[in-house]
């Protein structure tokens, strides 16, 4: 291809758009015309800590097959694939994940006009879902992973800490897996309204109840006999949320850590009080595997809930920086509360 395409390159905390020639896909690889790429909490945390080298972010993507390398005839599920089909892909491959590589591989991230899946081992799935649903496939797979590891059972009371994208998706997957009572702790108010539309029975706004002891009393009052939840998911990525969350687990219950994808330091924990006395079961969730992605896509394609409403903003490539700034504090952009911000090449 003689074409060129734009790529957003991040260094330090600066974003720069550059033009690169678009490659022809080698055998067993594919080239995708980007439709949407989500900004993830991990991108945000890494950006807050500043990039030492030029990095191409964006690992949550949906796009249209622009060109297929020799030998690529079907998707990961065995469905026939051709140019023009919409696909989502899992960022894991045989090398460094897509969305985390350097500028020597110009189309390796999702904040670009094209995405080149240059490794021979890829997991991409053809989909009919609208782009605003497809763009959720990667974070949704993390929710699937978290809920499967938590072993949610029918009728469970579930508490989710954090009403960002991961918190909302984890809550949705818990609901679809049989949880009967969903308590979402987070903020701001608009995110909690969305949580209700997605199935939360009770929402607790941390801005309304900033004092830990009061919040604890309120949250526990919504659990059976005030004894805590069967499963607590920590999706806030905020260190003090971890000991707070341990306090919400009932005896013999489960705590799932889905928040700290980036190292934000240590927090004091008491092994006797936090772990042993509740006879705690804890799971730490690191990303997702292909099978979580496959299951998650099947759920998203059913489209039984207003998944697309989680995409609060779609920005052009030039406004990536605005998206990061909004996620870095105020959760407001263009007069709207931010949930998931997607960047679109055609916007």
């Amino acid at each position: 291809m003689a074409q060129t395409g734009r790529v957003v390159v991040c260094e330090g905390q600066d974003f720069e758009i550059r033009e690169y020639p678009v490659p022809d896909p080698a055998p067993d690889t594919i080239l995708i015309k980007q439709e949407l790429g989500g900004i993830c909490g991990t991108d945000l945390h890494k950006w807050q800590q500043k990039f030492e080298e030029e990095t191409l972010l964006g690992h949550e993507n949906v796009g249209i097959v622009a060109a297929l390398g020799k030998g690529v005839k079907e998707d990961y599920l065995g469905n026939p694939l051709k140019e023009g089909d919409r696909v989502v892909f899992h960022p894991r491959n045989s090398g460094v994940a897509y969305g985390y590589r350097g500028s020597s591989e110009p189309f390796s991230g999702g904040f670009a006009d094209f995405i080149y899946l240059s490794d021979s081992m890829n997991c991409f799935i053809k989909t009919e879902t609208p782009p605003k649903v497809g763009v959720l496939s990667e974070p949704f797979a993390i929710g699937v992973h978290a809920v499967m590891r938590a072993n949610i059972q029918i009728g469970d009371t579930v508490i989710v800490q954090g009403s960002g994208a991961i918190g909302l998706m984890t809550m949705v997957v818990a609901k679809l897996s049989g949880a009967a009572r969903l308590i979402m702790i987070g903020g701001p108010a608009k995110r909690l309204e969305l949580a209700k539309r997605l199935g939360a029975h009770v929402t607790v706004d941390i801005e309304d109840v900033p004092i830990l002891e009061e919040r604890r009393e309120l949250v526990m009052s919504h659990t059976p006999r005030g004894e805590g939840a069967d499963v607590v998911f920590e999706c806030a990525g905020f260190l003090p949320a971890v000991p707070e969350g341990f306090g919400y687990v009932k005896q013999d219950g489960t705590f799932v850590e889905v928040g700290h994808f980036v190292d934000v330091g240590s927090i004091e924990l008491n092994p006797n009080v936090h772990f042993l006395r509740p006879n705690l079961h804890l799971e730490g969730i690191w990303g997702s595997r292909y099978h979580h992605f496959v299951r998650g896509m099947a759920v998203l394609e059913n489209n039984e809930l207003p998944f697309a409403d989680m995409v609060s903003h779609v920005l052009p490539l030039e406004r990536v920086c605005d998206g990061f700034d909004a996620l870095d504090g105020k959760y407001e952009l263009d007069g709207e509360t931010v949930v998931k911000i997607a960047v679109g090449s055609g916007v």
Binding site: H260, S266, P271, F275, L276, L282, I285, W286
Partner: protein, 351 residues
């Protein structure tokens, strides 16, 4: 009965022997003549912190049925029981208090094992008849903690397992991991005599923390015994020493399991890095609080087969008068007489 019997009353850090009238067992209850009762790490830690109210300690206990209350014909699994049979008791009773943690007379006397008699009179008590010798039967309760730990840790055939701590809980956990099919059991602990016993109970490798006091050096040696140096499938923290928790989390392979079996008593807090120690490793973490009835049913049958020298875990049997000596030995030197301390048992009839 007009007889009396002795109980050791613990308060603060003092022990006092008192005499109480020996009860006739009410219907549905049993009176045991105590044979042996182990001093547990929990007892020790409570004593170190100062025991807040008068308590009859001793929740690891075995004895012989002295008198049987009306209507008691079988144990929890249906084995018939009669006077003269040896019995072990699960200390927790689901809401009716626990043997070894009650004040005298609340609600009955002789609720702890550091006594001449044990009155198995708390409602809903689980007890099991056994043919195991007393020095093996007395290990049952700590052994069930090991059973609980390996079940929750889900130890599988061929697993590499690391056990931190070579006290009684560490030793039984290593043994239970071996029973569960672990191929490489690595015990990190000390002193040397305890590690020698760990080997006889099934450990493949032992690492003496006295010889390798630096955490970094120890880490290198411990990991060198795991596949590709990448860590163990399951790590059991049985030391009850706060810095052992972050050290042990660092011994788990990616997607492996960490089992916390050490901090039965509140020893305070420690800084843990949630990203490095829990998330990045895709960790499964289980914390073990005591043991459950099923662990007693499973564990006692294993002990009765006596395929390992379980009785050797009881390093000392002391008379009730020497309770304090036992606690002092566990509180630092790990020596009593000329022997390294492992499990100290108090015997109602010991001299």
């Amino acid at each position: 009965m007009a007889r009396t019997g002795r109980s050791v009353i613990a308060h603060g850090q003092e022990f006092e022997i008192r005499e109480y009238p020996v009860p006739d067992p009410a219907p549905g209850t049993l009176l045991l003549r105590q044979e042996m009762s182990g001093i547990c790490g929990t007892d020790l830690h409570m004593w170190q912190n100062g025991i807040g109210r008068e308590t009859i300690l001793g929740h690891e206990l075995c004895g012989v049925i002295e008198a049987i209350g009306q209507g008691v014909t079988a144990d929890h699994v249906g084995r018939p029981v009669r006077e003269g049979d040896r019995i072990i008791v699960k200390p927790g009773t689901d809401g009716n208090g626990a043997y070894g943690f009650q004040p005298p007379g609340d609600p009955i006397d002789f609720t702890g094992g550091f006594s001449d008699y044990v009155y198995v009179g708390l409602p809903n008590t689980v007890f099991l008849q056994t043919e195991a010798p007393a020095e093996v039967a007395v290990i049952t309760e700590p052994f069930t903690v090991g059973v609980h730990a390996v079940l929750r840790g889900d130890v599988k055939l061929g697993d590499t397992v690391i056990v931190q701590g070579s006290g009684a809980i560490g030793l039984v956990t290593a043994n239970c991991a071996k029973h569960s099919g672990a191929a490489q059991v690595i015990v990190v602990g000390g002193p040397a005599d305890r590690l020698a016993l760990a080997k006889r109970l099934g450990a493949d490798v032992t690492i003496n923390i006295e010889e390798v006091p630096s955490v970094d050096e120890r880490r290198e040696i411990v990991l060198s015994h795991t596949p590709n140096g990448k860590g163990a499938d399951v790590v059991f923290e049985c030391a009850g020493f706060l810095p052992a928790t972050p050290e042990g989390l660092g011994y788990v392979r990616h997607s492996g399991t960490f089992v916390e079996v050490g901090h039965f008593v509140d020893m305070g807090s420690i800084d843990l890095n949630i990203n490095q120690l829990m998330m990045r490793r895709n960790l499964r973490f289980e914390a073990i609080w005591g043991s459950r009835t099923e662990d007693f049913v499973r564990g006692l049958r294993l002990l009765e087969k006596n395929e390992y020298p379980y009785g050797d875990m009881v390093s000392h049997v002391l008379p009730l008068e020497k309770t304090l000596d036992g606690f002092q030995a566990l509180n630092g030197t790990y020596r009593l007489g000329d022997e390294t301390v492992v499990k100290i048992a108090l015997g109602g009839n010991a001299r």
